[in-house]
Structures are given as structure tokens and as C-alpha cells.
């Protein structure tokens, strides 16, 4: 199995979710993160003091899929999350050694 992690712009989450759903991916997990990268942050002002905030809000999604689905998932994410502007984010892929569905105890790809 493969674990695919994507860091995307927050408002792309729904599109990515829908794209993966169409692909037959049964589940995914998402959470809010702060990203630091090429996309510039911003300046904040509080009573005359200026602060530079380098981090930009992003959403990270994680989806574990069977090996043969991995490339399709990567491509689907890239397509759904792309706006063409700096800060669109990244997709990273890792090996996943095991999976269990807690409810049933099923293991491996069946657990997905």
C-alpha cells in the first residue's frame, strides 16, 4: 500500500475530496497546517509594531491506497488542486507497511 500526503490550498479541499471520491477512494483524512515555502506570508500590525508572518494556512490530506491506485490518486490530486499560482502545494508518496480496520480487525488492502 502507499500513503499519499498532499499539502494544498484550503479552498481546494472539497474539489480534491470529490476527485478522489470519483476515483473510488473510500476514505481520507484531512487537517489544517501552516506552510512555509515560496509563497510569501504577510505583515501584521499591532499598535504600531510590525510582525512578519511567514506561515500560510494550508490543508494537508492523507490517503492510503492500494499500490496500483497510487499514481492515479497522485494525478487526481494534482489536477484538482492546481490553480497555477505559487503555493499550490505538494504531493508526497510513502510506503505503507500495514493497515487495520478497527471496527472489524480486517488487515491490509481490505481495511481501506
Amino acid at each position: 500500500m502507499k500513503k499519499i500526503e498532499a499539502i494544498i490550498k484550503p479552498h481546494k479541499l472539497d474539489d480534491v475530496k470529490d476527485a478522489l471520491h470519483t476515483l473510488g477512494v473510500a476514505g481520507l483524512t484531512a487537517y489544517e497546517v501552516k506552510g512555509f515555502g515560496r509563497q510569501k506570508g504577510h505583515t501584521e500590525i499591532y499598535r504600531g509594531a510590525e510582525y512578519t508572518v511567514d506561515f500560510v494556512p494550508k490543508v494537508k490530506i492523507e490517503v492510503i491506497v492500494d499500490d496500483d491506485l497510487a499514481t492515479k490518486v497522485e494525478d487526481a490530486i494534482v489536477e484538482a488542486a492546481r490553480s497555477g499560482k505559487i503555493g499550490d502545494g505538494k504531493v508526497f508518496t510513502y510506503d505503507c507497511a500495514g493497515a487495520i480496520r478497527i471496527r472489524t480487525g480486517e488487515r491490509g488492502p481490505d481495511a481501506l
Partner: protein, 413 residues
């Protein structure tokens, strides 16, 4: 200074403070409904009106609205003798026996101007440039609000000394006028980028509910205070105000429960506000049961009113038209139905008290306010759009106006 009435003055000082307090309440009410990246921007819309509108009111608005109604233009606009609140510090207002310091009257009325501007901003949330908003707000106070207040309350052509439209506390001047401006703004500004997307849900409903609570509290100053005296009419205005808010809440919740199967807290708050809006023009003129009926009807009608925008396809982000336009119109018309001189001898009888003729000035009041405010607002907005520009750029809208326009983040938990 002529002998002021101490009790009335005590009441009106507090009433003015209460109406001022409505504006931070409104800020919370609105800000809870936007996304967390636009909280401060939305709050600022109301807050800055406490600064800007107050200053303009003192400099010119008050005299345009409540300056002398004598002279050739007296029916249209107040005389200029009170520019800069000149002489107000030692003047008195009101009728013999119920005189109050003019300073109190001028401020009390100024608080109405502040919140009326604030109300409009529900339509411009999440996409208007702050600078352009300031220009619009300033122009609107002087070109729309002040003349309208003069027409209805300042001895001008539309109110009791003219056409005879009854408007106890601002159903036309405040609610319909702000809603018409909101409509113009929603049209000229266009929809938010994410309009219709699920992410457009309220970010902090407890904030909205607190705002509604403050509004309800302050509305007693708004409606009962509009009697300008602590007398029986103030008491009856207080009573129907409270009960209309209650009935508005019940009406909206019932309609929602039937329509969607669930009663929401935002529905409770919206219904209460709808009831308050509905009763505003009627407050000092109607008895208990008509007052409750007005609230109930306003609650139900506004529940359907907020759907107009989806139908008509404009993005009135926080439902100024659906609540204040629809509710204000409902209230203004029902005032013509239910008004009774048995409640307030200084008012007029309405349809049910045997005076169907009262419906006419009520309709005139609604239509004139709607058209006047819409047309002038539209003009102002178009002029700003053509020069400074009205709308933030796409990236600002995406990132949120708090950071882009105010260089601040609302929350850092």
C-alpha cells in the same frame, strides 16, 4: 436653559447609550456569520461607523436632518444653523413639560445614523475595499440618511407634518433605507468568489447570538426612547417591542422547523431581529396583540425573505434585504393596519381603527424611501467604482480581508 424634565432626561441619556451599544452588538451579529478570515473586516464596518458617522453627524448631518424646517427648502432638508452642533450645548428639545437638553436629543439621533450605516454592511461583507466603504458611508450619511430623517422626523414632507406616514422609530428611515442601499451594493459589488460554496457558513455562532442579545437589549432604547419621554407611550412601545421580538423568534423557528425539520439558533436570533425590525415603525402606535402579530408575521415573512437573494441571484451576504427590507416594509404597512390613537393620541388611527386612508401614506413612505435610498446609493457606488474601485482583488478575497486590508489576524489560539 428652559426647565428640562429630569426624569425624561435621565431616560433619554440612557436610551442614547443603549442605541450606541447596538452597534458593537451588530458588529458581533454580523461578524459571527462571516468566515474567520473576514471577521475584523466585518467588525470594522460597523465600528468605524461609530467614528465616521458620528463626526459627520456633528458637523453637518444633524442640522440637515433636524435643522429648521422653515424656509423654501424646509420640507426637503433642515436649515444650516446647527452646523457643527452650534448652540446645541445650551439648547432644549421636545415639548413643554418634557423638555430635554438638545445635546441629548442630537446624540440620541446620531446613534440612529451610526447603526443605519452599520446595517447596510451586511451586504458588502467579505469583498469591499475598506477605503471605498468609508467614502460610501460618509456620502450616504449626508446624502441619504440625513434628508430622509428630516422628511420623516425633522418636520419634512413625508412625516406627520406632511404626507402623514407613521414611523415611530425608523422602519423606513433606518430599516428600509439601509436595505435599499444594501440592495444597490449587492448589485454593484457582485457576488463573492465562493458564493454558494459550503465553506460560506458562519464561523462563530455564539458571537452572532451574543450580538443578537445586545441588539435586543439596545432596541429598548431605540424604540421606547423614540417617544423622547419616560411616559406611558414609552412603556407601551417597550412592551410591544419586547413581545414582537419574542413572537418573531417563535415565528421564524416554527417556519424553519416545518420547512427543514430543525430549529436553528441562527433562526432564533434572526427571527428575533426580524420581529424587532417589524415592530420598529409601529412601536408607539399599537396595542399588545397587534404588536405580537406584527412580530410573528415579520418572523415568518423574513424567513422566506432571506431566500429572495437566491432567487434573484445577488449576494446579499448577511441578508440585509431579507431581514431589514422585508421586515421593515412589513412593519411599515402593518403600522397602517394596526395603529390606534387609543394607544397614542399623537399618532393616527389605522385601517382596523376605521381609517383605511392611513394605508396610503404608509405605502408612500415605503416606496419613497426604497426608491430614494436605492437610487442615490446606486449612484454613489457607481461613482466610487469608476474612480477608486469598490472591490478587493481576487487574491485579497481568497486570503481574507483581515490580513490584506487591516494587517491583522482575528484569532491566534
Amino acid at each position: 436653559m428652559a426647565a428640562i424634565n429630569v426624569g425624561d432626561t435621565a431616560f433619554m441619556l440612557v436610551a442614547a447609550a443603549l442605541v450606541l451599544f447596538m452597534t458593537p452588538g451588530l458588529a458581533l451579529f454580523y461578524a459571527g456569520m462571516v468566515r474567520s478570515k473576514n471577521v475584523l473586516s466585518t467588525t470594522m464596518h460597523s465600528f468605524v461607523s461609530m467614528g465616521l458617522t458620528s463626526v459627520l453627524w456633528a458637523l453637518a448631518g444633524y442640522t440637515l436632518a433636524f435643522g429648521s424646517a422653515e424656509g423654501p427648502f424646509g420640507a426637503i432638508v433642515g436649515g444650516l444653523s446647527k452646523l457643527g452642533l452650534s448652540g446645541v450645548v445650551s439648547g432644549v428639545s421636545g415639548v413643554e413639560g418634557h423638555l430635554i437638553p438638545e445635546s441629548v436629543f442630537a446624540m440620541y439621533q446620531g446613534m440612529f445614523a451610526i447603526i443605519t450605516v452599520g446595517l447596510i454592511t451586511g451586504a458588502i461583507a467579505e469583498r469591499m475595499k475598506f477605503k471605498s466603504y468609508l467614502i460610501f458611508a460618509g456620502a450616504w450619511v449626508l446624502l441619504v440618511y440625513s434628508p430622509l430623517a428630516h422628511w420623516v422626523w425633522g418636520g419634512g414632507w413625508l412625516g406627520l407634518s406632511g404626507v402623514g406616514a407613521l414611523d415611530f422609530a425608523g422602519g423606513t428611515v433606518v430599516h428600509i433605507a439601509s436595505a435599499a442601499a444594501a440592495l444597490a451594493a449587492a448589485i454593484v459589488l457582485g457576488k463573492r468568489k465562493d458564493y454558494g460554496k459550503p465553506e460560506l457558513v458562519p464561523h462563530n455562532l455564539p458571537m452572532t447570538l451574543l450580538g443578537a442579545g445586545i441588539l435586543w437589549f439596545g432596541w429598548f432604547g431605540f424604540n421606547a426612547g423614540s417617544e423622547l419621554a419616560a411616559d406611558g407611550v414609552a412603556g407601551s412601545a417597550f412592551m410591544v417591542t419586547h413581545l414582537a421580538a419574542a413572537c418573531g423568534m417563535i415565528g421564524w423557528l416554527a417556519a424553519e422547523w416545518i420547512g427543514h425539520g430543525k430549529p436553528t439558533s441562527l433562526g432564533a436570533a434572526s427571527g428575533a431581529v426580524a420581529g424587532l425590525v417589524g415592530i420598529t415603525p409601529a412601536a408607539g402606535f399599537v396595542d399588545v396583540l397587534p404588536g405580537m402579530l406584527i412580530g410573528l408575521i415579520a418572523g415568518v415573512v423574513c424567513y422566506y425573505g432571506v431566500r429572495i437573494k437566491t432567487k434573484l441571484g445577488f449576494d446579499d451576504a448577511l441578508d440585509v434585504i431579507g431581514v431589514h427590507g422585508v421586515g421593515g416594509t412589513t412593519g411599515a404597512l402593518l403600522t397602517g393596519v394596526f395603529a390606534s390613537t387609543a394607544v397614542n393620541a399623537a399618532g393616527a388611527d389605522g385601517l382596523l381603527a376605521g381609517n383605511p386612508a392611513q394605508m396610503l401614506p404608509q405605502i408612500v413612505g415605503v416606496v419613497v424611501t426604497l426608491v430614494f435610498s436605492f437610487v442615490v446609493s446606486f449612484g454613489i457606488l457607481k461613482a466610487i467604482d469608476a474612480t477608486v474601485g469598490l472591490r478587493v482583488d481576487e487574491e485579497t478575497e481568497e486570503r481574507g480581508l483581515d490580513i490584506a486590508e487591516h494587517a491583522e489576524a482575528a484569532y491566534v489560539f
